[in-house]
Amino acid sequence: MSNNAEIINVTIKVWRQDGPTSEGRFETHQQAISTHASFLEMLDLLNESLNDQGHEPIAFESDCREGICGTCGVMINGRAHGPQKATATCQLHMREFSDGDEIVIEPFRASGFPVIRDLAVDRSPLDRIIESGGYITVNTGAASDANLTPVPKEASDQAFDAAACIGCGACVAACPNSAGQLFTAAKIGHLNLLPQGQAERWKRTENMVETMEEFFGSCTNHGECSEACPKEISLDFIAFMNRDYLKAKVKNRALTGQK
């Protein structure tokens, strides 16, 4: 990788759609850009010139621009978050592209994520999944001393690997079935691996998996989700979720004190 900034010229083919029910279309623009710029700064510049020419800027979402909030995310040349592995759209830089490249930018495509406008989509089903069980029931003030329950470091580290999920939805967008398994499995894995999460383990798994199925397609083990994931969440969590779901269904839960 070069340290020297160069200016490259790229052709942007970008999806424009006025509203959720409007018909969409591709628009083509030319943009000269420094290779030091981030991908979203390239869009910022394009928007600035659109605005100057009296054209409405392209709607796209981003917030932290540090790859942690999960607000950003578009399809870049058919790939969720673009060509660089383990990188959210906001952390992608133009040095990944070459002079003369054509870059096709689309919103995340999934029936569970309807388009709001241009590149912005509605990912609220992810919140519905959390609402159905992605928590540990503990009222404020009810907690015992934090060191009362030792948690094996391995369990804690693994729970963290799952909890690293930023909820961007790239897994859904990358999946040919628009399945929500990797997101849901990450959330279930985080809590089910910890001692604190055991009391609600089976109910949580059942509720979250079934809520997921209301919004998203089925998993057929393509693995595209994990490939696209900016946090490289492992497919193993899906296996773990499936195992827990099966157990939740066959367990005599009255005997474990859970319904």
Binding site: A5, I68, G70, D127, Y135, S144, A164, I166, H190
Partner: protein
């Protein structure tokens, strides 16, 4: 005492104030709580934890976020950790020590009673978060691990890799979503506050705009809580997220809430410098890098040789030279100011000559590449992704950037602003950090306010309203507020000027950074007081906002936020101008020790400056809340 700013600090010994206060406050009995409606705006650590806890208590809560999901709030980006006086490491920590360190770190400009309460409840936060499943770092016995952080001589910082903020926010967010499922909290996402509504001097609701449909809606309640974060984006370039803004706090200010200490802003020394004019934000690199990296600049001005070509005897390790005892580990403000001094003097490095080197070659030679990679690998990767340079081979380039704002809405001990029924928590208020915030204390304060302080104090304010309904949203105070919001939006769309909102935001940011940045002086501040309103006038005349108010329109959203930044910026300049001393994040060139350190003036400035809005175009009124220090002796910091 000024009736506008009665801090209502309970009497008694510092260690008993909170305990006594909890007992003397009025309670709302459990079956009556459902009769009260509370609005919480913002769902970061403070807002999400408050909304969840109030819901658990049985209040009817409406939570608002302008993000698509509560989990996106910028608390999520905090890296380092969260302080708590657990003393798990048995190294002599205590509530009193955390209290002492925080007051001292704030350069003696915070309220003792608030800080002591913060230290007291810090231990409960760790318990609560752990019970929620926050995967804090653990040792091999399965118990929680701690590390040390700047400004403290004990290890009291709990952390979750480099993503402590993310994990704590996921904990608070999950607690919030549990209450949404339980029906105690009604969640409004993609809803932005555009006005605070008051009637007869009391907060009675808010007006929001649905960012997708454009619909402007009134919401009424018995109390309104603002947990809407800080105003660092007034600088345009900061480590804040793109959407962070002052709008909620500012609109409350315009409705009578005092704005305290706006000039207290924190500059973080280790950020990646801007690479070009179109840069949209700055990225922070953890301060921990200064443990192994050595900071230097070329002795020759405008030296454009590569770092490796500059021989050792032509390098100026200026921190090690000036502060032999602390060297590269001087506090944030000292490190930042010194970087500015050398860059301003023409020694800056990088394509825009706007950085200093942070060099790991010595550490790599000493400890080996693997050891350095194990410690900082993820940071080095992030640096390389952003700059395209390999920090194992060439030194990093760093420069300070705005990171946190200590000023905010003035609140009393109950976290209520001077407007009855209007509360401010987290970074949005001013109360606990004085003139400088210590590392790992922002997460602590946000969660302390939301989980363990506001849920108690808000009941005291509500108890007297039992039996009264919220002001109906058909009341003229609401219809007028809605009309005002719609008018303003129409005006932006009709201005039809030539330049974008971002253009003016960037220009404003430059003015603020140059004059109210790391070091301020009288001439610059006076200049800012004239230049900012002039640019603001041009902005209102010449901004171009396209599209309509009935759809997702990001330019329209930003137009209102930047308008508020203009007004805040002017207030920052006035506040900085009147504070004729240097303290914490506020450094006045005129007030420094012979060694160039911040020179406080405790005799004349040991007070909070709380500003009152007096109307468009009028000079605001400055009120003073005197600060008394009965438990901590005031001293001058020294890091030689």
């Amino acid at each position: 005492m000024n009736p506008l700013i009665n801090a209502k600090i309970p009497a008694g010994d510092i260690a008993e104030k909170w305990e006594n206060h909890k007992f003397s406050m009025n309670l709302v009995n459990p079956s009556n709580k459902r009769k009260f409606e509370i609005i919480v705006v913002g769902t970061g650590l403070a807002g999400a934890s408050a909304a969840a806890t109030l819901g658990e208590l049985g209040y009817r809560v409406k939570a608002f976020t302008f993000h698509d999901s509560p989990r996106r709030a910028h608390s999520i980006a905090a890296q380092g950790g969260i302080n708590a006086a657990k003393n798990y490491t048995n190294d002599g920590d205590s509530v009193h020590r955390l209290f002492y360190d925080t007051v001292k770190g704030g350069d003696y400009r915070s309220r003792e009673a608030n800080v002591h309460r913060l230290a007291e409840v810090s231990v409960n936060i760790i318990d609560q978060a752990t019970a929620q499943g926050v995967p804090f770092a653990r040792d091999y016995g399965g118990l929680l691990d701690n590390r040390s952080f700047g400004g403290a001589q004990v290890s009291r910082t709990f952390y979750a890799r480099g993503q402590t903020g993310q994990q704590l926010l996921i904990g608070a967010y999950s607690a919030l979503m549990r209450q949404v499922a339980a029906g105690t909290v009604e969640l409004h996402s993609r809803a932005e506050l555009l006005d605070v509504v008051t009637k007869d001097g009391q907060a009675c609701g808010i007006v929001t705009r649905d960012l997708v449909s454009g619909e402007v809606t009134p919401h009424s309640a018995h109390a309104v809580v603002l947990a809407t974060g800080g105003y660092g984006n007034v600088y345009f370039l900061s480590t804040n997220a793109m959407m962070c803004n002052v709008t909620a706090a500012w609109r409350a200010h315009r409705k009578g809430a005092l704005f305290a200490n706006p000039c207290y802003t924190q500059i973080h020394p280790t950020c990646i410098p801007a690479s070009d004019d179109f840069q949209s934000k700055l990225t922070l690199m953890s301060e921990s890098l200064r443990n192994d990296g050595r900071i230097w600049v070329p002795e020759t001005k405008a030296d454009n040789r590569g770092a490796g070509d500059i021989p050792e005897n032509e390098r100026d390790y200026y921190l090690e030279r000036k502060y032999p005892a602390f060297g590269n580990l001087v506090p944030r403000d000292v490190a930042s100011r010194n970087a500015k001094t050398v860059v301003d003097a023409g020694h800056g490095v990088g394509p825009l000559a706007n950085g200093v080197y942070l060099d790991f070659s010595g550490a790599i030679a000493r400890d080996g590449l693997d050891a350095i990679s194990a410690k900082y690998g993820n940071l080095f990767d992030m640096y390389q992704r952003i700059t395209g340079e390999n920090p194992y081979q060439t030194p990093m380039r760093i420069y300070p950037a705005t990171h946190y704002t200590m000023g905010g809405l003035w609140v009393d001990y109950n976290l209520m602003t001077n407007v009855k029924g209007l509360y401010a928590i987290g970074e949005a208020n001013f109360s606990d950090h004085g003139a400088n915030r210590l590392g790992a204390s922002a997460l602590m304060q946000g969660l302390a306010d939301g989980y363990f302080v506001l849920p108690y104090t808000i009941g005291d304010g509500l108890a007297g309203q039992l039996g009264s309904d919220p002001v109906p949203t058909t009341d003229p105070v609401f219809t007028q507020a809605i009309a005002g919001v719609n008018d303003t939006n129409r005006r932006w769309l009709a201005t039809n000027g030539t330049k974008s909102v971002d253009h003016y935001h960037r220009e404003l940011g430059r003015l603020v950074w140059d004059n109210i940045g790391m070091a301020r002086n009288k001439a610059g501040l006076q200049q800012a007081v004239t230049d900012i309103p002039a640019l603001k006038e041009e902005y209102h005349k010449n901004v171009r906002v396209l599209g309509s108010a009935d759809t997702l329109n990001q330019s329209l959203e930003k137009a209102g936020r930047v308008a508020d930044f203009f007004e805040l910026a002017e207030l920052m300049a006035r506040d900085a101008l009147q504070r004729e001393e240097s303290c914490g994040g506020h450094f006045r060139d005129e007030h420094q020790t012979p060694e160039g350190e911040a020179q406080r003036d405790d005799e004349n400035f040991a007070h909070v400056a709380a500003w009152e809005w007096t109307g468009e175009g009028n000079t605001p009124t400055r009120h003073q809340e005197e600060l008394t220090f009965d438990n901590v002796a005031l001293s001058q910091r020294s890091y030689k």
